[in-house]
């Protein structure tokens, strides 16, 4: 049954994905297993894209189907697995950058792992991040960015956090595209992550250290 879902998502068959997810949920299938199939499928989509077989609209569409899936699965997820509440995270793609496929996956993985995610969307100015952190009292700020210019926006966001007197209360992690430790140092963030699972691991580490 898992293969069905993986194949449907890889083929970008929106209706089929919806049907399979619905019938598996109604049959009492483990929602985490469903999301794991989604992860597998997204990997294949990513590989096809890297090989020049798939193009950006297909990558974007896969991301949208995934979003709809998450919405469908979520109510079952909380019921079934009684996820332990982990804490709050403010997330967004930084100013000047509108890449959100990677960020959405990070948000989704944090969510299924028990975090309360406040996603501010894309092209988010430093001020908005700071306001949201203040409002939610979230101890974690997760910044995504794929463009070279995003490094400056990340830096400005970390500085804005410091200006608001919040720097020692909030852990900042960054990710997306070519992010490396050198860039992390440049931006003044605490940690960087290569993929969504790394983001979850970092968030857990931040909470444990609190």
């Amino acid at each position: 049954m898992g293969d069905d879902l993986v194949k449907a998502l890889v083929d970008l068959d929106e209706d089929k994905v919806r049907d399979v997810v619905k019938s598996r949920l109604e049959a009492g299938d483990d929602p985490l297993g469903i999301m794991d199939d989604a992860r597998k499928a997204m990997e294949v989509v990513g590989d096809r894209f890297a090989e020049g077989e798939y193009f950006i609209p297909e990558l974007v569409f896969a991301g949208e189907i995934l979003k709809d899936m998450t919405t469908a699965v979520k109510p079952y997820l909380n019921k079934a697995s009684e996820q332990k509440y982990m804490g709050k995270v403010v997330l967004g793609t930084v100013a000047g950058d509108i890449h959100d496929i990677g960020k959405d996956i990070v948000g989704f993985m944090l969510d299924v792992n028990g975090f309360e995610v406040h996603d501010l969307g894309v092209d988010v100015p430093p001020r908005k991040f700071v306001e949201k952190v203040q409002e939610t009292e979230s101890p974690i700020l997760a910044l995504s960015g794929f463009l070279t210019l995003a490094y400056d926006s990340m830096k400005e966001t970390v500085e804005a956090l410091a200006d608001a007197g919040l720097r020692d209360k909030v852990k900042v992690m960054i990710g997306g595209g070519q992010i490396s430790d050198e860039i992390r140092a440049y931006t003044g963030a605490d940690e960087f992550g290569k993929d969504a699972m790394a983001g979850v691991a970092l968030a857990k580490k931040f909470i444990a250290a609190e």
Partner: protein
């Protein structure tokens, strides 16, 4: 509305029922490793050749950009401007986000250039507009501001209005403001093309300003880009874009065909001349 640009020996006018003015985009090191390396080695011959090639391909104006990590724009931009002025007699479009580099390039330029660009961001408006005024240049207003990147035609129009107001406050005549309606790829958002076309119609119709576009962004991330760029060029011409920033060699035949169909090429002179050139 007519925008006049000039080099030391030639004038180019954008607007009215004139044929579409093509601004050659190729002197720009981002994404062109060979050009970046040449600039790093101070090899300006490459720039000269690229300028001549674009002029021969039918460019009306050349965009000049040297903004890439590792190059001192303030020192390099005026030198590249001088090199291109020495190689061709086309007016130039000085493309930088660095106001010190912009001033140095304006100082070096002979004629009335197009400055690319000012945005609706406060920092940009206050640093770029005074220089445009001081040197009597024309300016491209890119519809982006402190609130971010516009998604629809309405926001694009609002930012265009704001840039125009601020330019006029700075003493720049309205015909010297050309609005870049900011194209994004239809790869991620299929409504992006139609929003830009709507913005062009409004900026032309309600503000009366000339419009330009960085055309090839429309096809970013898609295969067979020239096909999409050609289709979009035709629609942009019809919507009223008076000048386009493009890879001239690739896009010009399509634009000439579009100009002809839109009634901007009397007796098909330009279309036929280019047909014979291509043969």
């Amino acid at each position: 509305m007519e925008t006049m640009l000039s080099s030391a020996s030639r004038e180019v006018v954008v607007g009215g029922e004139r044929p579409t003015v093509l601004i050659g985009e190729r002197i720009n090191p981002s994404g062109k490793k060979w050009l970046k390396e040449a600039l790093m080695k101070d090899d300006l011959d490459v720039v000269r050749r690229e300028a001549v090639a674009q002029a021969e391909a039918g460019a009306d104006v050349l965009d000049v950009n040297v903004g890439v990590f590792g190059i001192d724009e303030k020192a390099m931009l005026p030198r590249v401007v001088e090199t291109v002025m020495g190689a061709v007699d086309l007016p130039l479009c000085i493309d930088t986000t660095d106001s010190a580099a912009l001033q140095a390039a304006l100082e070096a330029y002979d004629g009335k250039p197009l400055v690319n660009s000012v945005t609706g961001e406060e920092a940009s408006l206050s640093s770029v507009l005074p220089l445009v005024k001081e040197y009597g240049a024309a300016v491209v207003g890119l519809v982006q501001d402190d609130e971010g990147i516009p998604k629809d035609a309405v926001r694009r129009f609002q930012i265009a209005e704001k840039i125009l107001r601020r330019a006029e406050d700075a003493g720049i005549p309205r015909q010297d403001v050309i609005i870049d309606c900011l194209v994004f790829s239809v790869g991620s958002d299929t409504s992006s093309g139609s929003q830009v076309l709507e913005a062009i119609r409004r900026v032309r119709g309600e503000l009366g300003l000339n419009v330009t576009l960085g055309l090839s962004n429309i096809s970013f991330g898609l295969p067979d880009r020239d096909l999409i760029n050609g289709a979009f060029a035709a629609m942009a011409v019809l919507a009223g874009a008076g000048c386009l920033i493009v890879d001239v060699e690739k896009v010009r035949p399509c634009v000439l065909a579009a100009d002809l169909v839109a009634g901007k090429d009397s007796h098909a002179r330009r279309y036929l001349a280019d047909y014979r050139r291509r043969k």
